[in-house]
Amino acid sequence: MPTVSVKRDLLFRALGRTYTDEEFDELCFEFGLELDEITSEKEIISKEQGDEKAEGASDVILYKIDVPANRYDLLCLEGLVRGLQVFKERIKAPRYKRIKPNNGQIQRLIITEETVQVRPYAVAAVLRNIKFSKARYDSFIELQEKLHQNICRKRALVAIGTHDLDTISGPFTYTARTPSDIKFKALNQTKEHTACELMDLYKTDNHLKHFLHIIENKPLYPVIYDSNGVVLSMPPIINGDHSKITLKTRNVFIECTGTDLTKAKIVLDVIVTMFSEYCEKQFTVEAAEVIYPNGKSYLYPELAYRKEMVKADLINKQIGISETPASLAKLLTRMYLKSEVIGDGNQIEIEIPPTRADIIHACDIVEDAAIAYGYNNIQMTIPKTYTIANQLPLNKLTELLRHDLAAAGFTETLTFALCSQEDIADKLGMDISATKAVHIANPKTAEFQVARTTLLPGLLKTIAANRKMPLPLKLFEISDIVLKDSSKDVGARNHRHLCAVYYNKNPGFEVIHGLLDRIMQLLDVPFGEDKGYVIKAAEGSAFFPGRCAEVFAKGQSVGKLGVLHPDVITKFELTMPCSALEINVEPFL
């Protein structure tokens, strides 16, 4: 969930009133936001780097507000204020308009076909006669940053470039060149670099180094030139210094390049709708023409208003309320979705503005109606759905066994299902290839290389971590292990295992054997061949030779028990003899 930090006083000024922290928290809650933290720059720095560094930092109070991940229109102060004001019915939602320039000279962005290999899409727009202040400018930059982090997927899907239009001249060309052919003065650099040099330079840049991988290994890098060959930007890495916007900038050329056209259009719509507020003609955006290699041309931003029709009945039925169509339309209008009742009086026509890219199905509209109605005003009721509850047989058996094992004096553990290869193979005297283990491709630590194929390592690690406890340690776990199984759709399946260990100064085989007898007694499996259970001498790499037996129940092998091999004990950093039992409980269902 993205967090937006806004200056409290600026926020209140824009909202036209002040709130106490509690009141504002309450407002956020109703609207589906969360006032996460009340802080200041000074506090943040002092928390992260110590009081000394915070000396002199601003102590203006900041609100950190958590915004739902799909509400790109709330990622800046402007959007938050607009959303809240409409919600509280203090203003009407503005209508965003795309206009042609007065002089008819539309800005053009021409895409060449080389871009296909690296970053094929681009959209553009112009904010004309905008007035920046320090706060507005900061918010403008911050919004781009938030969009980059969220919908743009760290610039992989979309990257935004904003330029002072008065410093450059169209038409612009979006192309892709070999890195060594691209040379320009990048933003805030003192001299010109080639693209290769820049990539080297930014390897140590804490901010930019995260984006380099997007184009690093491509033969061509994307780049945008103006008609005089001035580099606007090398997306998705950096803009040129030449066209950078300042507080004095009056006309802004915005380009978004990317690999996902839908998202690029959304991003452009969000930026221009948010900041057209500061244009001379409020909420108007000057169109730019984008010409694709196939010659087709499009006007951007789209700023599309879409109409949806939803029956009032449906909204009432899904939420569990009974509002009139007119009042539902009013509720939706408060959510920035201008709505009116049409037709037979039961239909509501809803206009989805370009800022609400998150509305993609009717249930989104139902949700907004519910939010405006107030979740906490909805009458809670119990559905009449009558059903008979059933336990999953495997879990039922597990529950029964767990209680009886604890009653038998063993203590339950809960260990990780993931472990290292070593745990299930080397330490148990086996080769990993013999285990049928499922392997993880991208573990962050060696602790999580495989899913466990046996519960034993978990229990032994538990003992190792609790060596200081009085002997004997008697532990058990009934849980799932995972084995490859080509008969399953995903190629692997779980098995429910039961494992118990006895750790003391003596091996205590008889204790663990007694536990097996008790388990079989509980499972109503008598002692004996065929229909009963027996244990037969067996080999097991984890067990001491001659001290291992295989458990057969109802004619099939279900597991092993025995005294652990001293090598196994040592490898798990244990010092005492230990006996163990591990069986599959599924055959007893």
């Binding site: 969930m1 958590d66 991940a69 799909n70 899907l157 839908t262 449906l314 569990g320 309320i321 993609i360 199905h361 009717a362 249930c363 519910a370 979740y375 909805i378 809670m380 559905p383 009558y386 059903t387 509850a389 059933n390 336990q391 999953l392 879990n395 529950e399 094992l405 604890a406 004096g409 339950e412 260990t415 990780f416 299902a417 392997h439 993880i440 491709a441 991208n442 573990p443 962050k444 999580f448 978990g458 971590a465 609790n466 200081k468 406890m469 009085p470 008697k474 995972v482 490859k484 399953k488 759709d489 995903v490 190629g491 692997a492 399946r493 779980n494 100064k505 205590g508 008889e510 007694g514």
Partner: protein
């Protein structure tokens, strides 16, 4: 235990041995499978026992003065039962009153004027102070025989390491002195007994310097000609009993280095009581079978019990506290008529984990950073292809009233195997199966099982935790119904005040988080109970479809995720913790902190939910199918992290 045992005269052994023996023998009979062996062992056991009582001590039995109090378990390792609890603590004091030390004390007291100091007495008698204290307490228990006043004095003492330092110099000085003029290779220096500690201290004192580029590896040289070992000097002061000459700061510094410790010495000033006498009548500790049969109990005087002591903890195994909580939640669902879904597949395909839940293929949760993908088996091969087609269409072009995400949906991406990131994957399968069922019948489902996130472990993040999930499927279900069910669910947990906050969750629509009111703290606790609730259109209430009169099966599902970090709950779990594995101290400590993070202290990795796990935007949607006009209300709940003992 030691002093008490040695101070005790041997007990009459005949009855305690044989009687308890018989009792015990009957008690062990259920363990039939090893009956014979046990009988044999049992004989040895009692022989030993009897002998030990006669002889006042033997291999492993002598330290237990009250053998009959602790009926040892019928197992070969008779040892185990006697770990701690041999003497019932409520008899502790009185038991020693007729011991030789108490007698000596009374004699000394009779011959002196004012009184005696317990410490002085112990050194005069050449006994441990604790033994004398035991005798004092035992005499106190008899009533007015003596009066004892507790006096405590603070004293600074050298720790064993401190004593060594006072004698041989501080570690840093030792390091300094062990350096020859030509210096010493650092690795060699580190091998010296004082190497590690001494090196860093000497470096910070600037006594030595290190040349990292010296041939043969980093080499350490003296940086000054000679040094003054202040630490040693200070410790010697303390040793000479002049600790007060050190400043508070100096003492604390040495304490921090574990060279010095502050000990509180508790001594008794003992004087004659109003009923003082040097001869104490022998009192019986306990009622015995013989006393009952002979009736002698009528004439015997019994020692008083100390009722402020604690009893002996019962033996037995324990269930894991988190598993107990799981049982509790499971029970609630069953009480509410929910049927358990199968979740026994940790391995899931991206298709069921993400795509079927309308989570777009570029969604951040599908990053390598967040999800464990599999190397082997890397891909799932078997899918219901007609359903895959519908999911593909809905993602890339929309449908069922949805605009879709409008991107190029790829089967390869959906085939990638992973460790399921939520149990909603299992719910998706269950709903798919439900949709295949003709005719449709209403259903309520739940599950509680493990899920996996690619996290680096720390005190507040685990790579595995448990999730709760619930689904209700029926006609005409509403958001109000979902809230009603949630309310009932939480009421059963003892949580009555709920508040619902709108939230975003791609696979549920509408979505909400649930906040609960903490009665104790009088605050709304965020995060402690987080539920995301949704009504999702299995088809998204398709407007166009409706026009066609098709009513594509709507499954308004409601998802509810809940991560319990409730402190109250936490505490009650705590009480339930097996102290067996925990140790009292840790329990107390974590109780004091009011958290159930026993993870760190005890290596049971705790009960916490990575906060991210609640807030993580995840997406979901059409459990697709063409069935008509029905609703699914789904309660998908997410549970707290699993507590893991590692």
């Amino acid at each position: 235990m030691g002093p008490a045992a040695s101070a005790r005269p041997s007990r009459p052994s005949s009855r305690s041995g044989s009687m308890t023996g018989r009792v015990r023998f009957q008690w062990m009979i259920p363990h039939f499978s090893y009956k014979e062996i046990w009988e044999q062992k049992a004989k040895h056991f009692f022989q030993d026992h009897t002998e030990s009582n006669r002889g006042g001590g033997s291999k492993w039995w002598g330290f237990v003065p009250h053998s009959r109090w602790r009926i040892p378990g019928p197992r070969f390792s008779g040892l185990r039962s006697f770990r701690f609890r041999h003497v019932p603590s409520h008899l502790h004091g009185a038991d020693m009153a007729d011991g030789p030390v108490a007698q000596l004390l009374l004699q000394r007291l009779a011959s002196c004027d004012g009184g005696l100091d317990s410490l002085e007495l112990s050194s005069a008698l050449g006994l441990e102070h604790q033994v004398v204290v035991g005798a004092v307490k035992s005499l106190q228990a008899l009533g007015e025989v003596i009066e004892a006043e507790l006096r405590s004095t603070q004293r600074w003492e050298l720790t064993p390491e401190g004593q060594e330092t006072a004698q041989d110099g501080s570690h840093e000085a030792r390091v300094f002195h062990s350096l020859p003029p030509e210096g010493l290779v650092q690795s060699e220096l580190m091998r010296l007994p004082s190497g590690k500690v001494g090196f860093s201290k000497a470096m910070s004192n600037k006594w030595i310097r290190i040349d990292k580029n010296a041939p043969g590896g980093p080499r350490v040289f003296r940086a000054v000609d000679n040094v003054e070992d202040l630490v040693q000097a200070k410790l010697q002061l303390v040793q000479d009993g002049e600790a007060e000459r050190l400043s508070e700061k100096e003492r604390n510094e040495l304490k921090k280095r574990k060279l010095l410790s502050e000990v509180t010495l508790k001594t008794y000033w003992v004087s004659k009581g109003s009923a003082f006498s040097t001869s104490i009548s022998k009192q019986e500790a306990e009622l015995s079978p013989e006393m009952i049969s002979s009736g002698s109990w009528r004439d015997v005087k019994f020692k008083a019990y100390n009722f402020s002591s604690k009893g002996v903890l019962p033996e037995g195994g324990h269930l894991h506290p988190l598993m107990k909580v799981r049982t509790q939640f499971r029970q609630i669902f069953l009480e509410m008529g929910f049927t358990e879904m199968p979740t026994d597949n940790f391995i899931e395909s991206s298709f069921w984990n993400f795509d079927a839940l309308f989570q777009p293929q570029q969604h951040p949760a599908r990053d390598q950073h967040d999800t464990f993908f599999l190397k082997d088996p890397a891909e799932a091969l078997d899918f219901p292809m007609d359903y895959v087609e519908r999911v593909k269409r809905t993602h890339s072009r929309g449908g069922y009233g949805s605009q879709g995400y409008k991107y190029d949906w790829k089967l390869e991406e959906a085939q990638k195997n992973l460790l399921r990131t939520h149990t909603t994957a299992a719910s998706a399968r269950a709903l798919y199966r439900l949709a295949q069922q003709k005719p449709f019948s209403p259903a309520k489902y739940f599950s509680i099982d493990r899920v996996f996130r690619n996290e680096t472990l720390d005190a507040t993040h685990l790579a595995e935790f448990h999730q709760i999930e619930g689904v209700v499927a029926d006609y005409d279900l509403t958001l109000g119904h979902l809230m009603g069910i949630l309310k009932e669910f939480f009421t059963k947990l003892g949580i009555t005040h709920l508040r619902f906050k709108p939230a975003y969750n791609p696979y549920t629509e509408p979505s909400m988080e649930v906040f609960s009111y903490h009665q104790g703290k009088q605050i709304w606790r965020q995060n402690q109970l987080v539920c995301l609730v949704t009504m999702m259109g299995r088809t998204g209430a398709g407007r166009d479809k409706r026009k066609d009169g098709q009513m594509e099966g709507q499954v308004p599902g409601q998802t509810w995720k809940d991560g319990i970090r409730d402190r109250q709950m936490g505490r009650s779990w705590h009480r339930a913790l097996p102290t067996h594995l925990l140790g009292e101290a840790e329990c107390r400590e974590s109780r004091r902190r009011g958290r159930h993070r026993y993870s760190k202290t005890v290596q049971t990795q705790g009960v916490h939910l990575p906060r991210k796990a609640f807030c993580r935007p995840c997406s979901a949607q059409p459990i697709n199918g063409g069935s008509s006009g029905r609703g699914v209300l789904s309660l998908l709940g997410r549970r707290e992290a699993i507590g893991t003992v590692t």
